[in-house]
Symmetry: C2
Subunit: 174 residues, 2 copies
DNA sequence: CAAAACAATTTTAAGCTTGAAATTTATTCT
DNA sequence: AGAATAAATTTCAAGCTTAAAATTGTTTTG
């Protein structure tokens, strides 16, 4: 999905009227928007992955999993973690295995329902995560430094609309 | 990086003055923006992957590679493909192997420099890609249907600013 | 003209990711 | 209670991804 021109900032979208004159099935504007969105998130994401590896010898999935657990002091059920991270359940299994081995998280089988595994940050895991989280926040702040608070606000709002659009389209095709 | 609240649309950003009053090292606004951006692109991307698999028995990387080649009728050098797709060179090797096996692309060693491989869409590959591309454009249009042309224009512009911000931050830390 | 430097690509090792099938455990329904 | 159903998790097979090392081929330079 990559390949957007590197510095294309000209206005690509047209007003509704002009759009109506386009050939049927012409979705260029949406495609360009999607490519730009994807370019932005890929740029940020791969840089964050790189830095996590270099500076903490860790990975984004590990960081994300611990981030979920940080806000759940009493731990979280595996299925819930999987939903929140938007990844498949099988994925969580391996992550949890490794984070347990390395002592970052604990895992307990729920006594009342032995199908259910609850995981939580260990004190060590929490301490490690807090170090990483602070640095991570600085990285993001750095990468986003050229976006003013006002522009950031606009982006938040417009992305909220996009998110609703996508979620509602997904709900329809069920 | 997932885990943003599902329908959070309240204004998270504050004006510059309020921001100045926040504790030093408080990067919540940027973090929330990043999470929202990532949520949007993950939602779209995973749906596109799913549909490519279900309807065309294909994958996003394959589609992307062919999309690059479509605009290069005379073919493209592997290294160039790798750069445009923003993936590591080793990645391209495997993709090219499989797309060659399946007859979608051809590969030629440059006679003047035998290190260099040039790949191009075969007529079959081009025909297949065109079918996929048309459907793919419809999918995106569908997912983005709730975003008006005007809102899309705003998003394009704001994402352009973000992209410049990220690229310039990456250029600095070299 | 060799030797060193450089460039393009492939290989390797490790980890991530998915969907589907299998397992284990609980619940519901005769 | 026993059978079917459902739920939570794990296993499996296949493919993607990366960085680093290794290959292969070209160019530059002493």
């Amino acid at each position: 999905m990559m390949g957007e021109d590197k510095f294309d900032t000209s206005p690509e979208w047209v007003d509704g009227e002009t759009k109506a004159l386009e050939a049927p099935g012409d979705h260029r504007a949406e495609l360009r928007l999607w490519l730009r969105l994807l370019t932005c998130s890929t740029l940020v994401e791969s840089e964050i992955r790189r830095r996590l590896r270099e500076e903490f010898d860790s990975t984004l999935p590990r960081f994300d999993l611990m981030a979920q657990l940080e806000r759940a002091p009493d731990g979280m059920v595996l299925g819930e973690v999987s939903k929140r991270m938007m990844v498949s359940p099988g994925n969580i299994t391996v992550l949890v295995e490794r984070l347990t081995e390395s002592g970052h998280i604990s895992r307990t089988t729920l006594p009342t329902d032995r199908r259910v595994q609850v995981i939580a940050l260990t004190p060590f895991g929490r301490a490690e995560f807090e170090k990483m989280a602070a640095t991570h926040a600085d990285w993001i702040s750095d990468l986003f430094a050229g976006v003013s608070p006002k522009e950031g606000g606009v982006l938040m709002d417009e992305l909220a609309k996009l998110k609703r659009s996508v979620i509602s389209a997904l709900a329809k095709n069920t």
